[in-house]
């Protein structure tokens, strides 16, 4: 849908200054890399990546536990970091010559998808209300999407600029 046209093999290489187009949905398979060879390698990459990402999130929860009724800093931090990283990843993959087809499913859909979470965010808000803390609940509700969107925007912007400068 928003994939860049793949130049024919042996055709003229794309100018380095051309801005690579990124997809809207980072989970759409394909891209300018090698042709995907079936569903199973992609599903495997997503499963392994998801397990790794969720393990890292669980590690963060163990390192920085949040007591019931407190502001959910850990969920916010995990989501902010994951959103910044997907901004870096997608910009880097768009600029890469021919990234491996399993790289995006593994790192984007898998690792970062498993690391970040929408359900814990929503339940954190609910639990704060449940514990009679409407103030922190509203803060968590509003601050999380604002920080997440700022993180992905800033990270994508800085990465694209850095890669463009490197490409000359």
């Amino acid at each position: 849908m928003t994939e860049p046209p793949v130049p024919p093999p042996g055709g003229p290489p794309a100018p380095a200054s051309a801005r690579p187009r990124e997809p809207v949905d980072p989970d759409v398979p394909g891209g300018a890399g090698r042709a995907p060879d079936g569903q199973w390698p992609v599903l495997g990459a997503v499963a392994v990546g998801g397990a790794l990402g969720a393990s890292a999130r669980y590690g963060a929860v163990l390192l920085w536990p949040t007591t019931e009724g407190d502001f959910p800093w850990t969920t916010l931090g995990v989501n902010a970091v994951g959103c910044a990283l997907i901004g870096v990843l997608m910009a880097a993959l768009a600029a890469a010559r021919a990234p491996h087809t399993l790289l995006r499913p593994f790192l984007g859909t898998g690792v970062l998808g498993g690391f970040t979470t929408f359900s814990a965010y929503a339940l954190d808000v609910r639990q704060l209300v449940h514990h009679g803390r409407p103030g922190p609940a509203v803060w968590a509700l509003v601050l999380t999407p604002v920080v997440a969107l700022a993180a992905v925007w800033a990270a994508a912007r800085v990465t694209r600029r850095t890669l463009r400068r490197r490409a000359g």
Binding site: T2, D25, G53, A54, C83, L85, T109, F118, T144, P145
Partner: protein, 124 residues
């Protein structure tokens, strides 16, 4: 053991998100990221029900690690949601980007509340 439960849950949750996203996208080929919206709202509802069950004492902490931290945690995503919102805005679909952000938050948090109420009612 606890890590293993999270790993197993996530190894099911992440591919489920990928497959649901794809299935939704083949039915609704629009610029609006319905796939991510659906998995996020469904995951919030599931985690809500599970939380209600935990509060009622019907579900233990191990089941929560497997189905909550692992499965629902990996089924839902903030990174894809925020990236899709950013790309919509960059592609000039600012209204859709704003609708995606506000709609996902409202529907997800609403589903979490509804799920927790349902879970408490079922096992309370």
């Amino acid at each position: 053991m606890d890590w293993l439960l999270v790993i197993v849950g996530a190894a099911v949750g992440a591919p489920s998100r990928y497959l649901t996203d794809r299935a939704v996208r083949t039915r609704h080929d629009s610029l609006f990221p319905w796939g991510t919206f659906v998995v996020n709202v469904a995951g919030c509802l599931m985690l809500g029900v599970l939380t209600g069950a935990v509060l009622a004492g019907a579900v233990g902490s191990r089941t929560y690690l497997l189905l909550g931290t692992g499965l629902c945690g990996a089924l839902t995503t903030y990174s894809t949601f925020s990236y899709e919102t950013l790309r919509l805005a960059e592609e000039g679909a600012g209204v859709r980007a704003a609708l995606n952000a506000v709609g996902s938050v409202a529907a997800g948090v609403g589903a979490a509340f509804a799920g927790a109420a349902a879970g408490s009612a079922l096992w309370g």
